[in-house]
C-alpha cells in the first residue's frame, strides 16, 4: 500500500537533486531549474498531506497552487534578470556576474 512516506520519500530525493543543482551549477538558468525542482518537491508534500492528513478544506492544494503561481512569477523575473545580465556582461554564469554596477 502506497502511504504518505512513499510520496515524501520521492519528494525528499527530488529536493536533494534540486539543491545539488542550485549549489553546483554556474549557469543562472540552470540554478533556476534547480529551484523549480525544489518547489515541485515541496508541492508533492503539500498535496500528499492533503490526501493523507487533512483533506477537508484541500488546504494543501491551495498552498500548492499558490506555490505554482509564485514559481511562475519567480521564473519570469529571474529570466528577465538573466537576459539583462547577458546583454550587459555577455555571460550568465553567476560566478562571473560580480560587478555592483554594469
Amino acid at each position: 500500500m502506497i502511504g504518505p512516506a512513499h510520496y515524501l520519500g520521492v519528494s525528499a530525493l527530488l529536493f536533494g537533486l534540486g539543491l545539488y543543482g542550485v549549489l553546483t551549477r554556474r549557469n543562472a538558468v540552470a540554478i533556476l531549474m534547480g529551484i523549480e525542482l525544489m518547489l515541485n518537491a515541496a508541492n508533492i508534500n503539500f498535496v500528499a498531506f492533503t490526501k493523507f492528513v487533512d483533506p477537508t478544506f484541500v488546504r494543501g492544494h491551495v498552498a500548492a497552487l499558490i506555490v505554482i503561481t509564485l514559481a511562475a512569477c519567480e521564473a519570469v523575473v529571474g529570466l528577465a534578470l538573466v537576459i539583462n545580465a547577458y546583454r550587459h556582461l555577455e555571460t550568465v554564469n553567476v560566478d562571473q556576474v560580480n560587478l555592483m554596477k554594469g
Partner: protein, 164 residues
C-alpha cells in the same frame, strides 16, 4: 503489486531520473527538456493523490509555460554554445555532502513519524472544493498572490526592456 503501486513507482522513477538529468546534463537544452518528464511525473503523482485541479494547473503552468520560458532564455543567451564551458563550480564535493545529509535526515524523520488516518474524506468535486477554499478562508492569500503577479509582471518588463 497493485495498480496504484505500479503507477506510483513508474512515476517516481520518471520524476527522479528526469530530475537527475536536469541537474547533471552538461548540455543546458537537454537539462531543460528533461524538466518535461520530471514535471509530468509530478503531475502524475498529483493524479494518484486525487488532486485533479492541481494536476491540470501543473501541466498548464509548469510544463506549458515555465519550461518554454526557460528553453527560450537558454536559446536566447548561450544555447548549446556553452557546451565547452565548465558548467559546475568548485563546490561539488561539499554540495554532495550537504544534499546527502539533508536527504538522509528527511528520510529518517519521515520514517519515524506515525501516520494516523486522515481527518476526514476528500471533497467529491475537486475543482469546486479548491475554488471554495480559495474564495472563503484563503481569500487574503489569493489577493496577495495576484498583487505579486502584477508586481512581477511590471518588474520583468522594466528589467528586460532594452534601454534607449
Amino acid at each position: 503489486m497493485n495498480a496504484e503501486a505500479l503507477a506510483f513507482y513508474a512515476l517516481a522513477a520518471m520524476v527522479l531520473v528526469g530530475g537527475f538529468l536536469v541537474v547533471q546534463s552538461r548540455n543546458l537544452v537537454h537539462a531543460a527538456i528533461s524538466l518535461v518528464p520530471t514535471l509530468l511525473g509530478v503531475a502524475g503523482l498529483y493524479v494518484l493523490l486525487n488532486a485533479e485541479f492541481v494536476t491540470a494547473i501543473q501541466i498548464l503552468i509548469y510544463v506549458g509555460a515555465i519550461t518554454v520560458l526557460i528553453l527560450f532564455v537558454i536559446l536566447l543567451t548561450e544555447g548549446a554554445t556553452g557546451l565547452r564551458v565548465r558548467q559546475r563550480n568548485e563546490q561539488v564535493p561539499l554540495a554532495l555532502l550537504v544534499c546527502g545529509i539533508l536527504v538522509v535526515l528527511f528520510l529518517v524523520v519521515l520514517l519515524r513519524v506515525p501516520w494516523g488516518p486522515p481527518t476526514g474524506p476528500m471533497p467529491a468535486y475537486n475543482p469546486g472544493a479548491v475554488g471554495r477554499s480559495f474564495l472563503m478562508p484563503y481569500v487574503l492569500a489569493f489577493e496577495v498572490t495576484s498583487l505579486v503577479i502584477l508586481a512581477s509582471l511590471v518588474g520583468a518588463i522594466v528589467v528586460a526592456r532594452r534601454e534607449g
